[in-house]
Symmetry: C2
Subunit: 434 residues, 2 copies
C-alpha cells in the first residue's frame, strides 16, 4: 500500500554554488524528516546560475535557468532561496521575490548588513517572512537564540568570534609560531581563505555579521560604517609569543555592549586569557556569546562556514517557512525588531579597558623612559613591561600592558609615542578584558 | 492617540513557585516585545498553588486557586503553563489540559522522561503543541537546536554537562581541593543543592534530560531505566589531584552516541582534559554538545537552572505557541520524532575507551604486581601509573590509566582486583576520551 503523497512545496534557488548545491543535497537526503515536520515534501523546481558545467549535479526535475527573473516570479516557485551572494543583483532578486509574494531564505550577511533596512521593511510591508539564520555562524542557530534572548530578557552584550578564516589564521600562528603571511598562505591552500582575503582578515565579514546580531539584540539600526573595524594583518609572531608570556592568545572579536553612555561596538583583535572560552574556539569555528540580565552568559559554538553547515541552516529556515506556508500562516517573524527601530545610540564615551601595546623600535638608550613619560603624561598606569632578552637591536619589539583606561586616552598617548624617531612602525594596540 | 489594544491571549499557571513566578514577572516586564512578536499581549488569568502566603506577588487581575482542575478546563485560559514539578499530579494536569484542547508549556524534565510517550502521543492525537524548551539547560535553547540538527543532518552524538549542582560541586572540589562532602555542603548553603541531593549528585536529573535529548536527536524511544547511571559521590579530593597530574579534571557527563552496534548511552563521571571545552564549563552552568555529519561539533552553553533562566525559556515557548494560536495554526510541532518512534537500539557492544582506575589499598609489597597481572590477564595495556610519594600507608590511593579497551573487559579485570584482600574499597572507574 502506498501512502498518498501530499503536494510538494516548490522551491527555487538563485545562486547554485556551494551553499545552493548543499541545500539541494540536504533536501534530497532528508525528505522523510521534512515531510514529518512540514507535512509536505520540498521540491526544487528551478535553479539559476550563470553557467551550468556538464558535471554539475542538478535536483531531479528542476528547470535550469540563467536569468533570475525566470525564477523569482515563476508560478511554480512557492519559496525562494537566494544563495548567490553580493549586494547588487542579490538585492534585486530578493526584492523582486518579495514583491511577487514569495517568502525568501538567504545566507547573504553582506547584503543584509548593507541593505537590511530596505529588504526587511519590504518584507514587513508584504507580510512575508525573510529567513536569514544561515547569515551568521553557519549552522549554529544564533539568530533565533539572540531573538529569543531579546524577547524575554534585557541583553547587555553580544560578542564573539564571527569569522572562521581569521580565527584559523590566528590559531595556526598560535600553534606553529608562524607569521601572519605564512598562516594566510596555509589558509588559502586549505581553501579557507580567498585569493583576496581582505573581507575576512580586515574584519569586514565579522562587521557585517555584528550589524545583524546587534540589531536583533538591541532592536535599533546600525550600519557597517558605524562600526570601528580593525583586522589582523598587523599581528606578528612576536605578538603571539608575548601573548603567551601573558597566559593569553589573540582572537578577532566582534562586540556590541550596551552601557550607560550607549552601545560600544567594534571589531578588533583582543588579547584573551588562554583558559578562556574565547581562546578555546580554534580553527574555522565561530562562537557567539550573549550576556543577559536573566540568562547570564550564553555561548553558541560551531562551524561558522562551509556549504554543508550553511546549507543545514538554509534548510532549517525553509522547513519553518514551508510549515507556516502550508498552514497559511506566513508572517514577517523575527523581523519586528529589525525592520523598524530608530538608530542605536552609540557611545561616545567608551568604558575603561586594559590594553596591550607592542612597540617596534631601533634600540638605543632612553626609549622606555620616553614611552613611560608619554603614558604618565596621560595619567596611564603601566601594569607590566615585557622584553625578551637577546633580540636583534635594529628592530626590537617589546610590550607594555596598561591598567584600565578609556581608549581615547590611550590613543592620545600613542599619538605622541608614534612620533618618536626610534619608532619603526606605529604601536600595535590590542584590547584586553576590561 | 492610543493604539487599539488587541484582545489578550490568556495564560493559566499551575505551580506558582520559583519558575512560575519568574514566568509571570518576565511576561509583565516584556509585554511590549511580546505584543510585537505575537500581535497580542499575554495575560495571566489564573494561578494555582497549594498555599498563597500573604507576601506572594500575584499577576494583577489573576484568579488564585488551589485546585488545578479550576484552571486546566477554565474558559478564561487559552494556554496552560505547568511549573509544579513531580510526576503524578503534573501528569494529570497536562493530560487534562490537552484533553480540554489547551496547548501546554512545561519545564518538567522528570515527567517528560518518565511519561513523555503518553503525553506526547496525547498531544499529537489532540493536534496540540506541548512546549518543553525549559526542560533541558534552562534558558539555553537546546531543544530546538537538537531538533533542527536532527531534521537537516545525521547526528552522531549528543552529550554534555546537564546538571548544574553536580558541576558546581566538581568545580569547587577542583578549585579548593575540598572533598565531596564539603563541596556538597557549600552547594547546599548557596541554594544550589537540595537537602536531599540524590537527584542531582547521583545523576538522575542528568539522566532525565539525556532521555529527552537522545529521543529528539535519534528519533527513537528510550527510558530512564535504559540508561546506566553513576553519580559523583565516589569522587574524592585525591581524584581531582590525580586528574590534575594528568592535565585533566572531572565532569559528570551524560552522553548518547550512535555507533555501528547501536546507541551507547550513559551518565557517568569522565576525566576530561583541562584545556577542553568541557573543563571550561564551570559552576552551575550547563553545556550541550551536538556532533553531526554536516554540522560538525556544536556547543550550547549557559545557566542550566534557576527561576529566571528557566522562566525565559517558558516565555519563549509561550510566545511561539501564542503566535501559532493567534494565527489558528496550532500543531504538535517538534513532537513528531518524540511521540512515535520504535525503541532506540542500544549497543550491547561498547566501543573501546581509555579508563582511569583509582585504587585505595592498605599498602604492602606486591600490590602493583597483582593488579598488573589481573589487567594483563584481560589483555589490557597500562598507559600510566601515578602514585604520590609520602602517602599514608594504611590507606593509600594510586591511579592506573589504561589504553583503549571496551568497558566489559575492564569490568572483568576489576571483578578480580576488587576481590583482593589489600583493596579497602572498590576501584573507582572514570571514563577518559576514547
Amino acid at each position: 500500500m502506498m501512502a498518498k503523497q501530499p503536494s510538494p512545496i516548490r522551491v527555487g534557488i538563485v545562486g547554485f554554488g556551494t551553499v545552493g548545491q548543499a541545500t539541494a543535497a540536504i533536501i534530497a537526503a532528508h525528505q522523510a524528516e521534512i515531510v514529518q515536520r512540514v507535512g509536505r515534501p520540498l521540491e526544487i523546481t528551478a535553479v539559476c546560475r550563470r553557467h551550468f558545467p556538464a558535471d554539475l549535479v542538478l535536483p531531479p526535475g528542476a528547470r535550469v535557468v540563467t536569468d533570475w527573473r525566470a525564477v523569482v516570479t515563476a508560478p511554480d516557485v512557492d519559496l525562494l532561496v537566494e544563495t548567490m551572494g553580493g549586494t547588487t543583483t542579490a538585492r534585486d532578486v530578493i526584492a523582486a521575490a518579495l514583491r511577487a509574494g514569495k517568502p525568501v531564505v538567504t545566507a547573504n550577511k553582506n547584503l543584509l548588513a548593507e541593505h537590511g533596512d530596505e529588504l526587511f521593511a519590504l518584507a514587513v510591508q508584504q507580510g512575508l517572512p525573510l529567513g536569514f539564520e544561515a547569515a551568521v555562524a553557519g549552522g549554529v542557530p544564533v539568530i533565533r537564540a539572540v531573538a529569543e534572548g531579546a524577547a524575554g530578557d534585557r541583553l547587555h552584550r553580544v560578542f564573539g568570534i564571527l569569522n572562521g578564516t581569521a580565527n584559523f589564521i590566528l590559531t595556526r600562528m598560535q600553534q606553529t609560531g608562524a607569521d601572519f603571511t605564512a598562516a594566510l598562505i596555509e589558509a588559502q591552500a586549505a581553501g579557507y581563505a580567498e585569493a583576496d582575503p581582505a573581507f575576512d582578515v580586515d574584519g569586514f565579514d565579522a562587521r557585517d555579521k555584528l550589524v545583524i546580531l546587534a540589531r536583533i539584540a538591541f532592536g535599533g539600526r546600525v550600519t557597517p560604517a558605524d562600526i570601528p573595524t580593525l583586522g589582523i594583518r598587523a599581528i606578528r609572531a612576536v605578538d603571539i609569543h608575548y601573548a603567551r608570556r601573558l597566559d593569553s592568545t589573540i582572537r578577532l572579536i566582534a562586540s556590541a555592549a550596551r552601557g550607560p553612555a550607549g552601545v560600544e561596538i567594534a571589531v578588533r583583535p583582543w588579547l584573551v586569557p588562554l583558559h578562556s572560552m574565547l581562546a578555546r574556539v580554534e580553527g574555522v569555528n565561530n562562537a557567539v556569546f550573549l550576556d543577559g540580565q536573566k540568562l547570564g552568559l550564553q555561548m553558541f559554538y560551531g562551524r561558522g562556514a562551509g556549504g554543508d553547515a550553511t546549507g543545514v541552516a538554509v534548510v532549517s529556515d525553509l522547513i519553518e517557512l514551508a510549515s507556516d506556508l502550508g498552514a497559511g500562516n506566513l508572517a514577517p517573524k523575527l523581523l519586528a525588531g529589525f525592520g523598524a527601530g530608530s538608530p542605536l545610540v552609540l557611545s561616545q564615551n567608551p568604558e575603561p579597558a586594559s590594553w596591550y601595546l607592542r612597540l617596534t623600535v631601533g634600540d638605543r638608550p632612553g626609549i622606555l623612559a620616553h614611552v613611560a613619560e608619554a603614558l604618565a603624561h596621560e595619567g596611564i598606569n603601566i601594569d607590566s613591561v615585557i622584553q625578551e632578552p637577546h633580540m636583534e637591536k635594529q628592530c626590537l619589539s617589546f610590550v607594555i600592558t596598561v591598567e584600565p583606561v578609556a581608549e581615547p586616552v590611550v590613543l592620545r598617548a600613542l599619538g605622541v609615542i608614534n612620533q618618536c624617531p626610534f619608532m619603526l612602525e606605529p604601536v600595535l594596540l590590542l584590547r584586553m578584558d576590561g
